[in-house]
């Protein structure tokens, strides 16, 4: 077997409400290699966060339900494990950091308490030992004065410090997989790059694999080894990062890359992709991206394309990459 820490195969998660079944995650397959970073990119509402919550088993229940596929983590299918086993894996096998460091820490517990809680939950160590390790973690994520921060409450820290504390908490039990859901979106740009390089440094130091969810192509370029681009719950393109930026093949990926503001020249107007991600209850009949696609044809409006291999390690869900496309 390959050295994949996580294998997601054909994952389908749907919400069930008055509109019927709404596919939020639609036949998604990907691997996370040991020690590597997988980036998941897409606009708000494209299913990237839901995918990561499915992996953790934390998707909203009972409205949401995994209706198909498998999530193999260290060879065990997360979708079939009993809750008891899931509790053991969360925080220990895989850990997660979230977008909003402001609201993601419990306001009534000190930072130290919250880090120690994770350690004490998963490893049978004494209070002193847990405290020692918590301090070590706080120092490791580059927080000055660990003793002071240990006893502080979240509201006394800045956003960047809180996100560092979140990372310390997430890494406190040496997880094999760290899921970062928009870890820097709520932070200032300078703090953002500090946090990203911290994640990279810790990844190298601990050998943990990273699943990084973001809407920022710049962050992807900096961090990811491989990328999946998601749109309306589907993967539309999947490739190694360098390959993806050199040869963006799906029109949506090209659109995302073109909408990065260039730094070296002035622009009159930013490139934008017209329209927005469709609501799950009004998905188009054909290709999900067709209504916003500059290359859309009659076929795109009528049928949904399958995902196909465009070149070695590069997969695209677009009719233009299929044999028989005449460039209509």
């Amino acid at each position: 077997m390959s050295d994949n820490i996580l294998q997601v195969r054909d994952l389908c998660m749907s919400f069930f409400n008055k509109h019927g079944e709404l596919p939020a995650v639609n036949h998604v397959s990907f691997d996370v290699e040991r020690g590597k970073t997988l980036g998941i990119v897409g606009e708000s509402g494209c299913g990237k966060s839901m995918t990561s919550l499915c992996v953790m088993g934390l998707y909203p229940q009972p409205q949401g339900k995994i209706v198909g596929g498998s999530i193999l983590f260290q060879g065990r299918d997360m979708t079939k494990l009993p809750p008891r086993e899931l509790h053991k894996i969360r925080g220990k096998g895989m850990a997660m950091i979230f977008q909003e460091p402001m609201t993601s820490l419990n306001p009534v517990l000190t930072i130290g308490d919250q880090i120690m809680e994770t350690i004490r939950l998963h490893e049978h160590v004494s209070r002193q030992e847990a405290k020692r390790r918590a301090m070590e973690m706080i120092a490791m994520v580059g927080i000055p004065m660990p003793e002071k921060i240990f006893a502080s409450c979240p509201h006394q820290l800045s956003g960047g410090m809180r996100q560092r504390a979140m990372i310390a908490m997430a890494l406190s039990c040496d997880p094999e997989l760290l899921i970062c859901d928009e870890p820097t979106t709520a932070l200032d740009v300078t703090v953002q790059s500090q946090i990203l390089s911290l994640i990279n440094r810790l990844k190298a130091q601990t050998g943990t694999s990273v699943m990084l969810i973001t809407h920022d192509m710049g962050v992807i370029n900096e961090m990811a080894d491989t990328v999946i681009v998601m749109y309306a719950g589907q993967i539309v393109e999947q490739a190694a990062t360098a390959d993806l930026f050199a040869h963006p093949t799906h029109p949506y990926t090209s659109g995302l890359i073109q909408s990065i503001p260039p730094l070296n020249r002035e622009v009159e107007e930013l490139n934008v992709i017209p329209g927005s991600v469709p609501m799950l209850y009004e998905l188009p009949k054909g290709c999900l991206f067709a209504p916003r696609c500059p290359y859309a044809t009659a076929r795109c409006a009528a049928e949904r394309p399958d995902i196909v291999t465009a070149s070695e390690g590069h997969q695209v869900r677009c009719f233009r990459c299929m044999p028989g496309w005449e460039g209509q």
Binding site: T103, S104, V108, L109, Q156, L157, A170
Partner: protein, 311 residues
């Protein structure tokens, strides 16, 4: 923390002084002459004037106020016009009954309110939640004197488990405590449930789950403590209400508590007793709100430690 505390204590003293001022002047301007009432219809104007002078009621009103305030600070609340006993003795005597009833009722209200509220939130939208919330609506809506009478009829007269009037021993308090506590239990359970459900939606609950926290630890350590602030507010107000006496319950069960004492005093225009009673109620309320404020700070470090690096 100590600055927060000191500020609250100063506020509390200010509020009590303000209430004493308002009470004194309002009671002195409302119609109804206590001396006239006390002496009966056939008293001569001379006799009335004499009694008035004896009681200090002919003095200018601000002098009367400061005299009253000064005496009160020395523990002298004056003497009841009608029963000719020191007001403080009468208040303390009634307070004993009210306090015992209040403690039983409040413990019932807290235990059932919190447990039911937490259970309803944990089993949100399930049968248990619906059952408990239906009960709580009934509990909030049922007038407590009606609950009292139903309890008297069923557990007192039919089953003969508990006495239905008086306050001679512990078992005398069971029915009144249940009748009085029901509404508070219901309101505490509703606010607990609402607050818990609100907290469950917060990001930090997801973080806790992502760490592997689950079950009752998630509910009690992460959710309940965050849900407590609104619960403490309601439970504190409730404690104030219970301790200031329930006129209806005390009347129905013939318990000589503060509520009953006050109603009688107001009907008779027994000014010293009414003033003393109002001051008692004011002090109880202010002290309880002070305790509630202190509890907030104990529960929530954001209040205890002030702003910090928000934003």
């Amino acid at each position: 923390m100590s600055r927060y505390l000191l500020g609250r204590v100063f506020q509390a003293v200010g509020v009590i002084l303000a209430i004493s001022l308002i009470t004194f002047f309002i009671l002195n301007v409302i119609p109804g002459d206590p001396v006239q009432l006390m002496m009966g219809e056939f008293a001569t104007p001379e006799a009335i004037a004499q009694v008035r002078a004896q009681m200090g009621l002919d003095q200018p009103i601000y002098k009367q106020y400061f005299g009253w305030l000064g005496n009160m600070l020395r523990g002298d609340f004056g003497v009841s016009y009608f029963q000719h006993r020191p007001v403080l003795d009468m208040l303390l005597n009634s307070f004993g009954y009210t306090a015992r009833l209040a403690v039983f009722a409040y413990v019932l209200a807290l235990v059932f309110g919190l447990v039911f509220g937490i259970l309803a939130a944990v089993f949100h939208n399930k049968f248990l939640d619906r059952l408990l919330m239906t009960l709580s609506i009934a509990g909030v809506s049922a007038p407590n004197f009606w609950v009292a009478i139903i309890l008297q009829i069923y557990f007192g007269l039919t089953l003969k488990w508990f006495p239905i009037s008086g306050a001679k021993a512990f078992n005398y308090y069971v029915l009144p405590a249940v009748a009085l506590g029901t509404r508070y239990a219901a309101s505490i359970s509703r606010i607990t449930r609402t607050s818990m459900l609100e907290v469950t939606k917060q990001d930090y609950m997801r973080t806790a789950s992502a760490k592997g926290v689950h079950g009752w630890m998630l509910v009690m350590k992460h959710a309940f403590r965050n849900a407590l602030i609104p619960v403490v507010t309601v439970a504190g107000t409730d404690l104030g209400n219970i301790l200031t006496g329930s006129m209806l319950i005390e009347t129905v069960f013939t318990i000589d508590g503060i509520g009953k004492l006050m109603v009688d005093a107001i009907n008779q225009r027994d000014l010293p007793l009414v003033q003393g009673g109002v001051m008692y109620i004011a002090v109880i309320c202010v002290v309880i709100y002070l305790l509630v404020d202190i509890l907030y700070a104990v529960i929530d470090p954001r209040i205890r430690l002030g702003g910090g690096a928000e934003g």
